[in-house]
């Protein structure tokens, strides 16, 4: 009896709140019309830039919202800008409306209370997001998302190699060291100041740390040295075998991919399982590249969009965030002729027609299946990344 009552109450509550949401959303749409959203997004990847441009045309047609892609070299630039505006007392009418963000940058803004929201529940398409199966959609680098950022694309570490020259691709961190010793100068990783470079080290730490579960908690002065000792032991051996003897590194992922395309390296880390397939498609890598995933699982995370507390065009920004979650948008993004990134949606929540959009996407021999990807490991707490980067600079910058 009590249960039923509760059920009815819940249903009524859900109906009411859904209605409230609907009303609110139509208001959001009305206010958004005519707004120009300053979308601050890392611009080092052409495919993503093209996608954002396409998204701008679409939201323009559908909702009368324009997107101005503010092209960043580093997401931190947008964080700095919001912090500087706060410092200058500009608490409304801010110049950053939407940021492509996750991890440490999200933590920085969340901790200082510089984010608008929670707003994700107000987005109609958020109901289709996988919030149980894909943990990284709700826990960003161990930090609860709390509705302050909306997911839009997923990433997981894979390794891309040239099958014409590599027949013995490694499937674990220790195997990678053995491989690098056999093929000196043919492997590198992006600069450790870049997220992909530090992720390379984090992946190694996951496999080498005595107890990886501590990585889900903030690093401390006490445990950092102990937990990371095996990592540095491994890296000290690996570094001399790297491209340029480990004294130079490509600035970021695309620069690393350019080295692969130029034939300077044979294997590289990537944060996008579809990178090889996408790159073959756009003639950025030879057809012979393939993808391999480590057998004990690799780190995966979700990219989000967040709205600063002082954004001038919050409604427009919410419309864009919602558009990014539209199944049609997500399928377009997953197309290897576009970005090829894996969707954040829960396919069981989609209609058959919506699912078909994903099933009909082009295939590629370089594209791993969900089964190939295996276990997704959760990102460590951001403090590990910060400390690893600092420690790396201390050890290897002369």
């Amino acid at each position: 009896m009590f249960r039923r009552l509760l059920g009815v109450a819940c249903a009524a509550f859900i109906a009411v709140s859904a209605h409230a949401q609907e009303v609110k959303w139509s208001e959001v749409l009305a206010k958004a019309r005519g707004q120009t959203v300053n979308f601050n997004a890392w611009a080092g990847d052409e495919k993503t830039n093209a996608f954002i441009q396409w998204a701008g045309e679409e939201v323009g047609k559908r909702y009368g919202v324009k997107i101005n892609h503010v092209k960043l070299k580093d997401t931190a630039e947008a964080v700095t800008r919001v912090v500087a505006e706060k410092a200058a007392g500009r608490n409304s009418g801010g110049t950053v409306d939407l940021i492509w963000i996750n991890g440490p940058n999200f933590l920085a803004l969340k901790q200082q209370g510089l984010l608008h929201g929670p707003f994700t529940q107000a987005l109609p398409n958020y109901a289709r997001v996988d919030t149980t199966g894909i943990r990284s959609n709700v826990v960003d680098f161990t930090i609860p998302v709390d509705g302050l950022e909306s997911p839009w694309r997923r990433a997981q570490i894979v390794f891309v190699y040239d099958s014409k020259r590599v027949s013995d691709a490694p499937r674990s961190v220790p195997e990678m060291l053995a491989w690098a010793k056999r093929h000196p100068g043919r492997l590198t990783h992006p600069s450790v100041r870049n997220f992909l470079g530090s992720t390379f080290l984090k992946q190694a730490l996951y496999e080498l740390a005595p107890d990886p579960s501590v990585l889900q908690m903030p690093a401390t002065d006490e445990n950092f040295a102990m937990v990371t000792a095996p990592l540095w032991g491994w890296y000290d051996q690996l570094r001399p075998t790297l491209w340029r003897k480990g004294e130079q590194f490509p600035d970021n992922g695309p620069a690393q991919r350019q080295l692969m395309n130029d034939g300077e390296i044979d294997m590289m880390i990537s944060f996008s399982p579809a990178e090889a397939a996408v790159a073959i498609n756009s003639e950025l890598l030879p057809d012979s590249v393939r993808t391999v995933v480590f057998s004990r699982g690799t780190i995966g995370n979700t990219s989000f969009v967040a709205i600063p507390y002082n954004a001038a065009n919050k409604e427009g920004a919410m419309v864009v965030a919602d558009f990014l979650l539209d199944p049609a948008t997500q399928a377009h993004a997953q197309d290897i002729r576009q970005m090829g990134n894996f969707s954040v949606l829960d396919f069981s929540k989609l209609t058959p027609a919506e699912r078909k959009r994903f099933d009909d996407l082009p295939k590629s021999a370089a594209l791993p299946t969900n089964a190939d990807l295996g276990t997704t490991l959760l990102e460590p707490h951001p403090s590990w990344m910060t400390r690893i980067t600092a420690e790396w600079e201390k050890r290897y910058t002369k």
Partner: protein
Amino acid sequence: MSATRETARPRNLLRYVPALTVGAFLLPIGAGLVGTLLPAFGYLPAIGGDAFTLAPWRRLFSYPGFASSVWLTLTVGIGTSLLAAALAFLFCAWAHERPPLRRAGAWIAPVLATPHSALAIGLAFLIAPSGWIARAISPWLSGWTLPPDLATVGDPRGLALMLGLLVKEVPYLILMIVGALHQVPVREHMTIARALGYSREAAWIKVILPQVYPQVRLPIFAVVAFSLSVVDVALILGPSNPPPLAVLAVRWFTDADIALYFPAAAAATLLLTIVGLVLGLWFAIERAIVAMGLRWIARGTRRGLALAFASAAATVCALLLLLAFFAITGMAIWSFASQWRFPDLFPHGYSLSNWMRRLTDLAGPSGTTLVTGVLATAIALVLVVGCLENEGRAHRRASRGALWLLYLPLLVPQVAFLFGAQVLLVRMGIDGTLAAVVWAHLVFVLPYLFLSLADPWRALDPRYARAASSLGATPARVLVAVKLPILLRPVLIACAVAFAVSVGQYLPTLFAGNGRVATLTTEAVTLAAGADRRVIGAYALVQALFPFAAYLAAVALPMLVFRHRRAFR
């Protein structure tokens, strides 16, 4: 009575132009320096720095690569400047009365017009282990089926960075020297020296160089300051672990961790100090060289090694010019390539699809580049003509001190004042606007425009103006109907120089535009960090074409306008 009032009024207005001009660029530099100096000692209340402290300096000194970074800054800065000056002087000694020098302007103008970053991007592809040069000799000569594991770009010593700087700075200094030669009785002195049995090169170095050097000291100092504090070229060709001090400062200024503003300001302040010290040192070394050189000249050796050195320098200069040419050509080819892999000398296939896809992307930044460049140039032109007119009517020439003032934006490292200037722009509420970017460009456009226009303007025969006045023309009418038409060519050339300077600005655009105003240069440098080379190629090419088109227009326009007046062309 009324006639005197009429002529007096515009003159009174003109009197304020020099002050306005100096203010236009001294205000941001002054405010910027203060705004950098205070946080360097911990004072920036907006982000919690309330008390003066040395903590920023401790943080800077404890950066793991600090010593290497300073050493790198010094070696690249001093090495590049010495080499550039030596090459430029020796080239001029070699080229004296040889055909190449007469056409030197035509050869090097395109290189000078090309933004630093576009050349650096092209050079990076040219000299990489998998680059065009390596491809040209592989595998038939080098035996490389795979690119060799050599650090030819981003090498820890910064040699690639030095090369990238030399490609631009040597032509710049050559042009400055050629300009200064007009102030020296070259022909007479050379004839006497040659009659005394000195070889052409020895005569030039012993007789002409000592007279020309003081005229080009400021341009050389600008080269020294620039080489010590360059950011965009260093991002593309320089090492990153550790980077030069200027790059380190920018990296910290733009870091998410706001606390890094303080060591960034300290690094910028240190760089300012280093530039000051190196210029002082340069001055001292000049004295030493003068003392030694006098004895060397007095010894009276007629030939010596001058010819060998000068010929070698001329060869190096020709190579630098070739590098610049192939750097841009390489990028042009990339923009039309489909696949182009090592060791193919040319792409596997060509396609227009890259350009078709980029056109919309390119439109925005191209428009911004054009509008910013035109506005900054137009404002600068009005101010400069105002200054020169005032000077002419007041019969007073700008002093030596004023010349130093003009060079200030070229001598003070950009990182040392741009952050502080950004704070000023935020206070005024115009940060991130086009107006702010135009102002920031104006700081650098003004001096170049003034320096290019001042000499031809002052050299104009005053009798034209006097004749017009005696026919009853007002000073304004003399300016519009007589002076400007006669000076159309130098005015347009000066505008082209100014426009090229504006197109090439990276750091000022980044800071004043708050990252939101995208020009071809900011886009190209951002993309150079790793995007598809076909895309980078398209941007670098368009970026290079803009100033080039301005130069062509500056040369073609007078021919068109004055097609019926031969003497004006």
